[in-house]
Structures are given as structure tokens and as C-alpha cells.
């Protein structure tokens, strides 16, 4: 419990140690701590940014999906419209063709009937003349009776 020169020596050692720490120990450790704090702050900021980006991307995806669905609906509607138009056109074409065919067939049938009637009329005239020949048993001058026959033909119509 005495005081002596140890006091002075200890005082000097005290300052030498403090100086050493100030010069060689404190700065690198504090630098490392600050750097790590910055790194962590950067990391957290990056994580936040990534989270925000993700949310944005999700929103975009939903939007794109909605757009795609909308345009698909449009395409389908127009396709359906086009298809029904095609069907209508085809149906109209078909009925037109059918009508034309029917008309042609009717026309043909009419002409055939007419021709048959003509032929029949001729044959009936011949038959009548032949019958009359047989009845009269003599030759009838065709030229004389041509007018008569033409009248007969007219009546058969």
C-alpha cells in the first residue's frame, strides 16, 4: 500500500498500450464492422427490391394472362362468326344450285313431254289416215286431204 515510481511507469505503459490499440487494433476492426453493416444493409435492400420486383412481375403476369384470355375470346368470337358466315354462304349456294337443277330438270321434263306429245300426235294422224284408208279401202290423195288432216291434228291438241 505504498506509492512509488511504479505509478509513473504504469502511466507510461497505459498510454503506450492505448496508442498501440488506436493505431493497429481499432481501425481494422471498426472498418470490418462498418463494412459488414453495409453489406447487411445492402443485402436487406436487395431482398426488399427483389420482393417488390416479384410482386410487380406477378401483377404483370396476371395482367398478361387477362389480356391473352381476352384476345383468345376475341379470336374465338370472330372465328365463330366467320364459320357461321361460311356455313350460311354454303347453304345459300347449295339451295341456289338445287333450285337451278330443279328448274333444268323441270324444263327438260316439259320438253320431253312436248316431244312425246308431238310424236304421239303424228302417229295418231298416221293411224287415223291408215285407219281411214282401210275403211275406205281406197287410196286417198294425201295432198287433197292434207287440209283435212291438219284440221284433225289441230283438234287433237
Amino acid at each position: 500500500m505504498n506509492l512509488n515510481a511504479t505509478l509513473i511507469a504504469q502511466l507510461v505503459v497505459f498510454f503506450i498500450l492505448a496508442w498501440f490499440t488506436m493505431k493497429f487494433v481499432w481501425p481494422p476492426i471498426v472498418k470490418a464492422l462498418d463494412e459488414r453493416a453495409n453489406k447487411i444493409a445492402d443485402g436487406l435492400a436487395a431482398a426488399d427490391k427483389a420482393k417488390a420486383d416479384l410482386a410487380l412481375a406477378e401483377k404483370k403476369v396476371v395482367e398478361e394472362l387477362r389480356k391473352a384470355r381476352e384476345s383468345a375470346g376475341d379470336v374465338r368470337t370472330s372465328a365463330e362468326k366467320q364459320a357461321s358466315q361460311l356455313i350460311d354462304e354454303a347453304r345459300a349456294e347449295a339451295s341456289r344450285i338445287i333450285a337451278a337443277a330443279r328448274e333444268a330438270a323441270e324444263h327438260e321434263a316439259g320438253a320431253a313431254t312436248q316431244r312425246a306429245k308431238e310424236a304421239l300426235r303424228d302417229q295418231v294422224a298416221h293411224l287415223a289416215v291408215a285407219g281411214a284408208e282401210k275403211i275406205l279401202r281406197r287410196e286417198i290423195d294425201a295432198k287433197v286431204h292434207a287440209k283435212l288432216l291438219a284440221n284433225l291434228k289441230q283438234e287433237l291438241q
Binding site: N4, A5, A18, F24, P28
Partner: protein, 283 residues
């Protein structure tokens, strides 16, 4: 004094343990004698101080901002703790550049010097006695105290260092004129009649701060060491009671002392910061 073949008496044992190894070779006689220097205190404080800065330097040399190892981690925790305290107490970034590392050094250094108390109280002194006797000396004169902080000169040396720092920062921050003005006008006010009282109060404050700063650490460590010596004395009775008493009391006191050595190191560091911080504040 113990002589050959005779075990020392209890009082001789205690006195032997409480006597410093100094340059005179015998116990100091005057209360204050500047021609005497305690070799044991100087040896242990310098060796432990070198160990302190070496360990800190080791951590600083490999300090990375990446993932720290355990050793770097504990040093970082200390640095962070001291830096936080310094930031809260000393409001000058420029002063902190020196004061914060100083506080860190003081904390680790004092902690390690205090921790010497936890070594068996006879271990190093007995080794020294053996070496001294082997060198032809009388082992009764082979004094050795291993706890440098239980030396009043050492602790007052450190607290005087803090006082010098306070004076330095007082002058640096306030200027010589400002500081002298404060010495005569604080704490009671600026009136010619109050000047002597103010000045006396300021001087008392500086002395009391410094003395109590050093005395607190010294008193705690000295008392702790003395109790370890008394417990060892109990064991040296070589009876069942003495043996059990030594084991039980020694364990309890050592465990409690872990708290004291840490606490005293922390208090010394905090007061260093507080006193330096006060030097920055004008009244």
C-alpha cells in the same frame, strides 16, 4: 521471517504475500518513495499488456467483413460494446478516435490483470521462490505479487493517466482561457468572491475523481487477493475442516470473483469514458 526448516507463521505468510518485489530487495519503508519501483507489478502489467494488444492485434489483422470466426466475434462484441458506450458518453468523434481504443485497451488489460487473481495464490510466488533459491537467494526474500491491479501505485498510475487526458481535453476543447475561466466560475457562478471557492471545488473534484478511480480498483482487487490468501491459510492447517473449508470457500470466492474482476474492469473503463466526456462539456 521464515528460516530454514521452519514453516512461516500465518502473519509471516500473509505479509510475505503482500510484499512487492521491488528494486531495493526489501519491503518499502516510506509511504511514498519515488526511488522505488515494483518489479513484479511492472513485469505482470507489461507482459499482460503486451498479451492484450497482441490478442487484439491478432483479431484486427484478420478482421474481415465476411463471416467472423469465434475469436473475431468476441473481439468484435467487445469493440462494439466499447464503441457504443464511447459514442453515448464522449460527444466528439475526433476525441473518440483515441478515447474509444483507450477504453477498449483499459478494459481488456485490467480484466486480464484482475484475472491473475484466479490463479492459485501460491503458484507463481512459489515458482519464483524456487528460482530465487536456485539462484542462491534467501526464499524468504523472494517476494512476488501477481495481481498488478492490487498495487496502489499501478492503479493510481492508470487513473493519473486518465486525469492527464481530462486536462488535455479540457484545454483542447475549451482553450486555455476557457478552461481557466471555468475553473474559477464553475460550479457556483461568476463573482469575484466565489472565485476561490469555485477553484477549490474544481481542484477537489479532480483529485477526488482520480484518487477514487484508482482506489476503487485497487481496493477491490487487494481485498480479493487478501481473501484468497486467508482461504489458502485455512487450507494450510492440513485438517479435514481446513481442507473442506479451503475447497468450499475457495470455489465460492473464485466464482464470485469472476464477477468482481469483470465488473471492476468495466467500471474502470466506464469511468475513464465518463471523466473524458465531462472534460468535453462546458458548464
Amino acid at each position: 521471517m521464515a528460516t530454514e526448516g521452519h514453516a512461516p507463521t500465518a502473519s509471516e505468510y500473509v505479509i510475505h504475500h503482500l510484499t512487492h518485489l521491488n528494486n531495493t530487495g526489501h519491503a518499502q519503508e516510506n509511504i511514498i518513495d519515488w526511488s522505488v519501483i515494483n518489479l513484479d507489478s511492472m513485469f505482470y502489467s507489461i507482459v499482460i499488456g503486451a498479451l492484450t494488444v497482441f490478442l487484439l492485434w491478432l483479431a484486427a489483422r484478420k478482421a474481415t467483413s465476411g463471416v467472423p470466426g469465434r475469436f473475431q466475434g468476441i473481439v468484435e462484441i467487445l469493440v462494439d460494446m466499447v464503441a457504443d458506450q464511447a459514442k453515448g458518453i464522449v460527444h466528439s468523434a475526433e476525441s473518440r478516435r483515441f478515447v474509444a481504443p483507450l477504453a477498449l485497451t483499459v478494459f481488456v488489460w485490467i480484466f486480464l490483470m484482475n484475472a491473475m487473481d484466479l490463479l492459485p495464490v501460491d503458484l507463481l510466488p512459489r515458482i519464483w521462490e524456487g528460482m530465487y533459491a536456485a539462484g542462491g537467494g534467501d526464499p524468504a526474500h523472494a517476494y512476488m505479487r501477481v495481481v498488478a491491479t492490487a498495487d496502489l501505485s499501478a492503479t493510481l498510475g492508470m487513473s493519473t493517466g486518465v486525469l492527464l487526458l481530462c486536462l488535455y481535453y479540457n484545454i483542447k476543447i475549451k482553450g486555455v482561457g476557457g478552461w481557466v475561466h471555468e475553473l474559477f466560475t464553475a460550479p457556483f457562478g461568476s463573482h469575484p468572491l466565489l472565485y476561490p471557492i469555485n477553484f477549490a471545488m474544481q481542484i477537489i473534484e479532480f483529485v477526488a475523481k482520480t484518487v477514487s478511480h484508482g482506489m476503487r480498483l485497487f481496493g477491490n482487487m487487494y481485498a480479493g487477493e487478501l481473501i484468497f490468501i486467508l482461504i489458502a491459510l485455512l487450507g494450510s492447517t492440513a485438517t479435514v475442516f481446513g481442507f473442506l473449508g479451503h475447497v468450499i470457500a475457495g470455489s465460492i470466492w473464485a466464482i464470485f470473483h469472476i464477477l468482481i474482476i469483470t465488473l471492476q474492469a468495466f467500471i474502470f473503463m466506464m469511468l475513464t469514458l465518463v471523466y473524458v466526456g465531462q472534460a468535453h462539456e462546458s458548464h
